[in-house]
């Protein structure tokens, strides 16, 4: 039942080889469906309202006479198994052309070796119509192997079959599908086979604050679906189709969060007064400088920083790392992802890519520096809920940095500034109807007695106070 390793790694599959896999897997369809259902039962995973959703989806599938591309957001490695297993009923197991081929990653599902465990896994992947794909790496070889899998998908679709594609390509690093970053794979596939419709699915559980290898045991999912009938042709730019798919999925994501208790907008910020004595003199004293740095930096960060104990530029880089971690810590806390007191080593900032990774969970936060000058550093972070934006291209995160008037209490003053700032940012709001509260140690804004999901954040340091929120 197994196919060769070379094929798995993405070598071009002949139509004959794909046909054989299709016939064998069709014959074993009840077995494959049973395995999908068993995995869901084993993890006590349930999708709420699956019966109605199944009928809705099959309504679309039955009315469409052609191939179908299944697409979904990507939070765990079981997503396609769960979705396919639950959307197919036993009575439809014979509709094998509707059963989608999936693209499991080789590093997890196509292990090296010839032991019984490896053989068993490879056989299972073969039977559930897996086309193993190399997801890691940007080198020419990895790209070429992905291209070969792409050609296999085109062959399947041209033969009237279905494929299951995650348009984000990989597990989303922050558990948020970003409509502004469409990938071309799905668009290219659609324009290569223009008669293929796109089934869009958004599936998430209430405890899925981020992506992970597997969903938690007992997870209850809600799944939303939409249908994109093909009205494009081979000449349509692939990016245009990709954008439409991403927009549909993002709309489903908005709908999902509207009915969820999960916080949608998670942002943070941090300001540093470079002239406040505790910061300005920190390195001048020379007191335990290296040791102090080690308490704040991961080995990788330390290696990239230079010598802050002597070099003023490296000191500034250090404070940028520090501000990035503080801002990311606040954004993560809004999503319920904790970092312990003094846990600087558990967050790793990469200023070049503009990201901070929460090492215990792998969750990734985007960061951006604003208002930096000789006196201060200010960093804004977004974990999910909106776009950070770039210079000259505003995003969804808004911020403000102010000077703290002499004699004012910074903690109280920054809260007042936050309320004023949010009120000024919309014609529909007044400062009087807003108040700052705290839920689980995380600041929140109340509007007319209702807690608002605006991802607010506050920070103060020396002579400066700063606040931010997400206006999406």
């Amino acid at each position: 039942l197994t196919i060769s390793g070379a094929e798995a790694a993405g070598s071009s599959r002949s139509d004959r080889s794909l046909t054989i896999q299709r016939i064998v897997s069709a014959a074993c369809m009840p077995l494959a469906l049973g395995a999908c259902r068993w995995l869901a039962r084993r993890g006590r995973h349930r999708i709420e309202g699956i019966d109605e959703l199944r009928e809705k989806v099959w309504g679309w599938l039955d009315r469409h006479d052609g191939p179908v591309i299944w697409t979904a957001n990507h939070l765990t490695q079981l997503d396609s198994v769960l979705a396919t297993g639950q959307l197919f009923s036993w009575g439809r197991a014979y509709r094998e052309s509707r059963y989608p081929w999936c693209l499991p990653r080789t590093s997890l599902f196509w292990p090296e070796g010839t032991g019984w465990r490896e053989r068993l896994l490879k056989s299972a992947i073969y039977l559930v119509r897996g086309l193993p794909i190399v997801r890691e790496g940007d080198d020419a070889e990895a790209a070429a192997s992905r291209e070969r899998v792409f050609r296999d998908c085109v062959s399947v679709l041209r033969g009237g079959g279905s494929v299951f594609v995650f348009p984000e390509a990989d597990l989303s690093p922050n558990g948020w599908l970003d409509r502004n970053r469409p990938k071309d794979f799905i668009g290219r596939l659609s324009t290569e086979v223009p008669k293929a419709a796109v089934l869009c699915l958004y599936m998430r559980g209430e405890s899925q604050t981020r992506s992970s290898l597997l969903p938690e045991d007992g997870e209850r999912f809600r799944m939303l679906a939409d249908w994109l009938a093909p009205d494009w042709d081979a000449d349509t730019p692939p990016r245009e189709v990709s954008q439409r798919v991403f927009d549909r999925l993002a709309a489903l994501q908005d709908g999902w969060f509207a009915g969820s208790t999960l916080v949608r907008n998670c942002g943070g910020n941090d300001v540093i007064d470079l002239e406040s004595p505790g910061i300005r003199d920190r390195f001048d004293s020379g007191d335990g400088c290296e040791e102090w740095l080690e308490r704040h930096l991961t080995p990788r960060e330390r290696a990239s920083l230079g010598d802050p104990c002597r070099d003023p530029e490296a000191r500034r880089r250090f404070w940028r790392h520090f501000a990035a971690k503080e801002a990311a810590y606040k954004a993560l806390a809004q999503a319920g992802i904790d970092t312990p007191h003094q846990g600087y080593g558990l967050l790793e900032a990469d200023l070049f890519t503009g990201r901070v990774v929460h090492l215990p969970t792998g969750a990734s936060v985007e960061i951006r520096f604003t208002d930096d000058d000789a006196d201060k550093i200010h960093c804004v972070a977004v974990f999910r809920g909106g776009r950070l934006g770039e210079d000259g291209e505003p995003g969804d995160a808004l911020w403000r940095v102010d000077r703290l008037p002499e004699g004012e209490d910074p903690s109280s003053y920054v809260r007042d500034r936050l309320v004023e700032f949010v009120a000024e940012s919309s014609d529909d709001l007044s400062a009087e109807e807003l108040a700052v509260t705290s839920v689980g140690g995380v600041p929140k804004l109340l509007r007319r007695g209702e807690i608002q999901d605006w991802g607010v954040s506050i920070s103060h340091s020396g002579r400066f106070v700063a606040c931010s929120f997400i206006a999406s």
Binding site: P111, L213, P340, Q342, T361, S412
Partner: protein, 296 residues
């Protein structure tokens, strides 16, 4: 100049074995004076005054958190100076020659107050455990819970000082305050919530361990069937997973400590809880006794 500074630091440092817990606590509070931006709170600080925070804390900024630890290190000498590397790559300090105190990475994760810092020194063998002293130290989990309560109370107080449009916010905040006061009164509910958070993190680390095991198995397999193309990404994956696993283990230790601390509510915790509950209930009563109606 560096030589002089080192000399000065060594002359001032005192053997922890010769001091009582109360003396160490006092020195810790004195040592953070220059970082405290809330002078009034610092002056009245005791074992259970948080270093961070402006309402009841000393107002030390997060950029000086590591300075607190280093200030403690500079002031004391300890016999636990022999560094031993453990099989999982972490380190421990065993009994050796008397020398400068070292607080290893992660050991200070729950040292949020002077009392908790003293407890940290006792737990890691730098000074003798003083049960009588520890009875008066509020656990880390309760320091967090109490701090949240004061922040909520502060928000309610602020809303109460606003105009008519704030009435709905005052009502919500008062409800929030009453609900939080009730949660604080229910020791079991609070302990259950922290235990659940700990169990969840434990499950996550288990998942990570399985992923790491799979990567290790793959690498072992590649020893017998060499494949350079597969080896490089798998090695980098293993390194990433190792780092994440260590980080997750460090975080889990803190969650475990929080869950353990919250499960045991002693008189010191009870006293702090009662104070913040009273503050919350007083503010809520003020909101309910006509203030919200007046605002409306």
């Amino acid at each position: 100049m560096g030589f002089k500074r080192q000399q000065a630091a060594q002359v001032q440092a005192i053997d922890l074995g010769t001091l009582t817990a109360a003396e160490v606590e006092r020195k810790i509070i004195d040592g953070v004076r220059k970082y405290a931006t809330r002078e009034a709170n610092w002056k009245g600080a005791d074992a259970n005054t948080p270093f961070l925070g402006h309402i009841i804390g000393m107002g030390i900024e997060s950029s000086n958190l590591a300075d607190i630890t280093m200030s403690i290190e500079r002031q004391f000498l300890s016999k636990r100076t022999k560094r031993v590397t453990l099989p999982d790559g972490t380190a421990r300090l065993d009994e050796g020659e008397l020398g400068p105190l070292r607080i290893l990475s992660g050991q200070d994760a729950t040292a949020a107050t002077p009392g908790l810092a003293v407890r940290m020194l006792m737990e890691h063998g730098h000074m003798k455990t003083d049960e009588a002293y520890l009875k008066g130290v509020v656990s880390f989990g309760y320091i967090i819970a109490v701090g949240d309560g004061y922040r909520l109370n502060d928000s309610l107080q602020k809303a109460l000082s606003k105009g008519a449009e704030a009435a709905a916010n005052v009502k919500t905040l008062a409800e929030q305050a009453r609900a939080y006061a009730a949660l604080l009164a229910d020791a079991e509910a609070l302990a259950r919530a922290r235990q659940e958070a700990f169990e969840k993190e434990k499950a996550q680390i288990e998942e990570l361990r399985k992923e790491l095991d799979a990567a290790n198995r793959g690498l072992k397999e590649l020893e017998t069937n060499p494949n350079e193309q597969a080896l490089v990404p798998l090695r980098s994956k293993q390194a990433e997973l190792n780092t994440r696993h260590k980080a997750a283990a460090a975080r889990l230790r803190v969650s475990e400590e929080v869950a353990r601390g919250v499960a045991k509510r002693g008189p010191a915790e009870q006293e702090r809880i009662e104070k913040v509950r009273q503050a919350l209930l007083d503010s809520a009563e003020k909101a309910g006794s006509g203030k919200a109606e007046q605002l409306a």
